[in-house]
Amino acid sequence: MTVMEEDYKVRLDVFEGPLDLLLFLIKRNELDIYDIPISFITEQYLAYIGMMQVLNVELASEFLVIAATLLEIKARMLIPTPSEQEEEAEDPRLELTNRLLEYQRFKNAALQLNDSAMLYRDTFIRGMHEDSGNEDLSLNIDADPYDLLVAFKSLMDRARGEKIAYMAVERISVAQRINDIMERIGIVKSMAFDALLPREYTRMDIVVTVLAILELLRLRMLRCEQKEPFGTIWLFMQE
């Protein structure tokens, strides 16, 4: 088991999702993908998830969805089928098997894609820019609706940003912010830094919040932790 744990730990960040993990378990145990021993694989899968929880790795909810699927298949396979009349009963594993095969197919395709002569990695086009005349010369246009959407969205974002900046003047003071933080953190005992910011915040909000936190840290009313560079900053209530 310890060897296995080591193995998993090394591969932690390698899995793209639950299907990827399942494929790994199948390959690693040399199982037949067309005839998956469902209780065995479920056990392995759950062991992995359990380990992730012990290691405090944040699991995407999709991992749990597939865990539920596995358990459901396992249950359905345990129900004895009245063999005569259930002629066309479907193998409960069929959908999962098909998904795994399909996913594996695209994993292969992705590798193949990556093997092709990629522009700016394996091959390069002319770097120098010819004096191509101005674009209004052209009579036709290369158009894509997404361009419109992106242009419009950035205009809207810009407009919204201006409005917020204008209102920033009447936002709250450092003292108010301190009260606010202590009130909220008093309930839950600990919070992430960004959770303290209003839903839509301006630069001024960040400044005010940081000043408030610094003050609280100085007064030893809060303790502050960060697990890794650029990671989430956690604030703890100092008992």
Binding site: D35, A109, Y120
Partner: protein, 200 residues
């Protein structure tokens, strides 16, 4: 006009174009002169042959339904030593998502998520921003979800002539045969025993 002169013009046009140049635009440019019964495709073929010798560092590639001059892939390490271009890299999720879109287009966000088993929203956004995929319409389903397809830029990035030039999807084993077996096995519904199935 002589053949050699025409080839020179075509070479200049392809060189000057910042994107792969379609034959139809070459035809349009040349339409003001009488080219007799010379076909542009044939001239391009000759030009291509000229660039195919080992003593040239450039090749003429058919990309995104057009023609483009590119440095030869086997010289990539030398060109990279110049440090002039940002190297392009795609993450594994991006490559996975891109291949799903490429082979299954038009496809919705939900369908991509189903195949990958994880939410692909962030990756889709990145690929849209990099112009490797695009919105090609909306599906006639409740909520009218957007459907995605690949772009010209996708073809250019991977040096593909068109979407049909993608290699066909392959399994490790032959699926069709195996699926039949699965179907054959179904009616009996044997419980999954760990020691079974050592066929083939």
């Amino acid at each position: 006009m002589e053949r050699e002169k025409l080839i020179a013009i075509i070479e200049a046009l392809i060189f000057a174009s910042d994107r792969p140049l379609k034959v139809k635009y070459i035809d349009q440019v040349l339409s003001i002169i009488d080219t007799g019964d010379v076909r542009v495709e044939d001239l391009i073929g000759e030009l291509r042959a000229r660039y195919s010798t080992d003593s040239t560092g450039i090749e003429l590639a058919e990309v995104a339904d057009g023609w483009q001059l590119r440095t030869k892939p086997q010289l990539a390490d030398w060109v990279k030593r110049l440090n002039i271009v940002k190297p392009s890299r795609l993450s594994t999720p991006a490559l996975e998502t891109l291949s799903i879109v490429a082979y299954r287009q038009p496809i919705t966000h939900a369908e991509i998520d189903y195949v990958r088993g994880v939410d692909s929203g962030g990756v889709i956004k990145t690929l849209l921003d990099r112009r490797l995929i695009k919105i090609v319409g909306k599906k006639e389903l409740p909520g009218r979800p957007l459907v995605y397809g690949t772009t010209q830029e996708f073809l250019e990035l991977f040096g593909l002539k068109d979407i049909a030039a993608l290699p066909s999807l392959q399994d490790i084993k032959q699926i069709s045969a195996a699926e039949e077996e699965l179907e054959k096995a179904q009616p009996e519904l044997p419980l999954p025993t760990h020691e079974t199935s050592d066929e083939e």
